[in-house]
Symmetry: C2
Subunit: 222 residues, 2 copies
DNA sequence: TAAGGAGAAATTGCATGCAGAAATGTTGTG
DNA sequence: CACAACATTTCTGCATGCAATTTCTCCTTA
């Protein structure tokens, strides 16, 4: 931890807990025992409690009065609502990009998309996952509105526990890339409504991919 | 406080502090001394600190390590970004309403708009302010997406310290009502793109109104 | 008078302790 | 064997205390 001067223990704890959840270290529904966390990170319960409040505000965990905090669990219906919200936010970002991106930002996005073609061809899901994150981050930045960008990035983080394996589904890599291509063309051509529509469709597909995975997992258990 | 069983002191404190800020009890930039808050609400500093973390997550206050928390101050540039984000969110809600509102929800919105006509005619800014809040709340609900609805409502709360006097500006009441009419017609006719555009324009006008007020206030000081 | 600095006071960050609620284990009863 | 009632343990919610840092005050000096 390199920023001991500018951050409190609570701040660093909040980051650490959120990272651990997003990395899958705690499963949805897992109890987040205050004492356990305090021991694990070598602090007292006080900063742990403050950090939990902070993480809870992002929606990653749920605080239940007089009960342990738990990693947020969502019903299929809630998940659909969350993915719907994320799709709307990302679509809004794409629309704003079509209007507001600088020529240089447009070229960078185009170059990234080109580089991702090779990853699809090589079937390199890991590299593609990283590049995909960058692709979307560039679109957040391209809005030139830090508030919208942060809200959307936060929504993406909040859904990360449910998106982890999205590129494992067969054929998803090239489908995702084709979708990106449609979004990219709309942004480059400054067609705002089309950028919105294509991105909405693209993110909705991510939800479908997740549901397919869940169904397959359920089928294997049965 | 009627829900002592289901909420902790911290939860109630967070609400009370946020309400006090939105009601103007603390000016932007005002220091939120922990001990002062603890005495004011008759609790110890521990729940106060936890509540401050929670309120800070909404953006209403800023936490500065080893310094007092303060009511969030925003530069004119940040305020423009915030209003821009709110406009995009509200426009998204309006677009979703055009697609998703039930016939009953549409009728309710239309009835409310009709009732607001009388308030404009009577020049009753107070009643109009309340009804305006309801109008927008109905649009959040009409999205049928609780996540988007909550995000947008939260953004509105966050900007409330800067919207307080918006209907004091001359002619604003009838202008706002006319704008509402345009949004309403688009929603009723299920014209999604038009609902988006008209709402975007409407909320942008609120920002203009605020800026006018600030300029007038500055002029009076000079 | 303004600027600077040393010391005092106030304030935050965090650990600890305790009361009460929730979770868990145990025993008795149908 | 299931299950209900009770006892025990564990955990949360909050108050309090202390060290470290910031802020305030007042004095010195140019």
């Amino acid at each position: 931890m390199n920023n001991q001067d500018t951050q409190t223990r609570t701040d660093r704890l909040a980051e650490a807990i959120a990272d651990a959840i997003m990395a899958g270290g705690f499963q949805p529904g897992a109890k987040l025992d205050e004492q356990m966390l305090a021991e694990r990170y070598g602090v007292s319960r006080t900063p742990v409690r403050e950090a939990l409040r902070q993480v809870a505000a992002t929606g990653l965990i749920a605080l239940r009065p007089r009960r342990s905090a738990i990693v947020a669990t969502v019903t299929p219906a809630e998940l659909e609502t969350l993915f719907g919200a994320m799709a709307e936010l990302e679509a809004t970002c794409a629309r704003m990009c079509a209007i507001s991106m600088t020529p240089m930002e447009r070229r960078r996005l185009e170059a990234l998309h080109g580089a991702m073609q090779a990853m699809v061809a090589a079937g390199d899901a890991e590299a593609y996952t990283d590049a995909n994150q960058t692709f979307h981050s560039q679109i957040y930045a391209g809005t030139h509105n830090a508030v919208i960008a942060e809200m959307t990035a936060n929504m993406r983080r909040r859904l990360s526990p449910f998106r982890r394996a999205q590129f494992r589904a067969p054929g998803r890599l090239s489908l995702s890339h084709a979708e990106h291509g449609a979004v990219l063309q709309a942004i480059l051509a400054a067609r705002a409504a089309e950028a919105h529509a294509t991105m909405l469709h693209h993110v909705s597909l991510v939800e479908d991919a997740y549901e397919q995975l869940v169904e397959q997992a359920s089928a294997r258990l049965a």
